[in-house]
């Protein structure tokens, strides 16, 4: 098994952290993982993306042509990466910001209004966890609990302990939101 996910969006949408939590969850469950950020001139206020690979044997290339999943947090990200997703893959789209539908018919589209759900949960910044929750469901490689644990480890002890519960709820909401499309 070797699965790759691309997380993409604006800087500030928590894209890199979402990817890192997924990678950490994989590692905690004894899998091999790689997390590779893009970095560039538009790091600040521009777009950002990262590629996470989760596998049960050593990972060769952390650069992936055709990922099994894409999390597109804004329209430019969907435009840029939609075509590269492997046939049969899954695309989580932040439908709060992306107004168009996924064009591909050979992938499973999971529109999740991440901004709106986050606002509803009381903190607009947890939109990344909403999306990650949906992705976890779509990818179907790691149990949600593993991801919740990894999220806890990431936040614990860095002055962000109070946010753990909120993030957990966001992950779960995203997961169940995806359920609608993938059940």
């Amino acid at each position: 098994m070797e699965k790759a996910v691309i997380f993409a969006g604006f800087g500030g949408q928590g894209i890199l952290l979402a990817g890192k939590i997924l990678a950490r969850a994989g590692m905690n469950r004894g899998l091999e993982v790689t997390w590779l950020p893009s970095y560039g001139p538009e790091m600040r206020g521009g777009t950002a993306n990262c590629t996470v690979v989760v596998a049960d044997s050593p990972i060769g290339s952390p650069v992936v042509d055709n990922p099994e999943a894409l999390v597109a947090m804004n329209a430019p990200s969907l435009d840029r990466f939609e075509g590269r997703v492997a046939a049969g893959g899954v695309i989580v789209v932040n439908s709060s910001l992306v107004k168009r539908a996924v064009k591909r018919h050979d992938v499973r589209a999971v529109p999740v209004p991440a901004n709106d759900i986050a606002a509803e949960l009381g903190n607009p910044r947890v939109l990344n966890m909403v999306a990650l929750g949906a992705l976890v469901r779509g990818l179907d490689v790691l149990p949600l609990e593993a991801v919740e644990e990894a999220m806890e480890e990431e936040l614990r002890g860095r002055g962000r302990d109070k946010l753990i519960e909120l993030n957990r709820r966001a992950l779960r909401r995203g997961f169940s939101e995806a359920e609608k499309y993938l059940a």
């Binding site: 001139p41 538009e42 600040r44 206020g45």
Partner: protein, 255 residues
């Protein structure tokens, strides 16, 4: 701008983008004073009517994209070497108007020798020195100009002068030399200071046109991104704290 059409009659344009600037959007972060300073340089070029004989030298730092923003000839210099590159250009073609635009890491750390020696030679160039107290482009490391106690990624507990050095007052240092014609320190955190900074930049270019030699305008700037402040907070920080360590005003002016 196409919106212009919508302006009712009887209005005159009192402010618009200087001609020396291209249409390219800045790559600076939101609220960064680099943007103001870049524009002021462009305005000075416009006012002096020297666009067609000006060569700018971009540094390595957040201003590395400067050649995109300006409509004049440009040379991208290695980190810290802008004054040496400017010297090469100016000596080769004394009729050109040559300016460098450099950050504090570029000018005062790695480029300290080139800066000191170009100043000491009284090299007939104009230097715009953007002091934002950090290495902006590389992610907020300490600069020679970082304030005591200021936290940066390389001084996580705050700058401790006995360990990391004192805030380097390079303009005061250069003002000691015989070479420079004009060394001044300005800021752009409000309208009043912007107007003054503009006058200083104009003078620094005029000096060159008059063959007076090395002119340097230090401008206290912000780095909201790496200071972890909003742009408004960052401007206030300069006004309240930075100017205490780096007092504004002319440090040398041979007139």
């Amino acid at each position: 701008m196409s919106v212009e059409a919508a302006i009712p009659e009887g209005y005159v344009k009192v402010f618009s983008k200087p001609k020396a600037l291209s249409d390219a959007k800045y790559t600076y972060c939101p609220g960064c004073h680099h943007g103001i300073i870049t524009r002021l340089v462009a305005e000075a070029i416009d006012e002096l009517g020297i666009l067609e004989r000006t060569v700018g030298i971009s540094p390595v730092g957040c201003a590395v994209f400067l050649d995109r923003f300006f409509n004049c000839d440009f040379v991208q210099a290695a980190h810290g070497r802008a004054c040496a590159v400017a010297t090469g250009i100016k000596r080769a073609r004394p009729d050109l108007v040559v300016f460098t635009y450099q950050g504090d890491g570029d000018l005062a750390a790695i480029g300290a020798a080139e800066t000191v020696h170009a100043a000491n030679r009284g090299e007939n160039i104009t230097v715009i020195f953007v002091n934002n107290g950090v290495y902006g482009m590389t992610g907020g490391e300490m600069a020679p100009t970082t304030l005591p106690g200021q936290r940066t990624t390389t001084t996580p507990l705050g700058r401790e002068p006995r360990l990391h050095g004192y805030p380097l007052k390079i303009s005061e240092m250069l003002a000691q030399l015989e070479g420079p014609a004009y060394i001044t320190r300005q800021a752009v955190f409000d309208y009043r200071h912007i107007v003054r900074a503009k006058q200083a930049i104009l003078k620094a270019f005029r000096n060159q046109l008059e063959g007076k030699g090395f002119s340097l305008v230090e401008i206290l700037s912000t780095c909201p991104t790496n200071w972890r402040m909003t742009p408004v907070e960052a401007g206030r920080w300069v006004a309240e704290h930075v100017v205490k360590v780096y007092p504004l005003g002319d440090l040398k002016d041979v007139g």
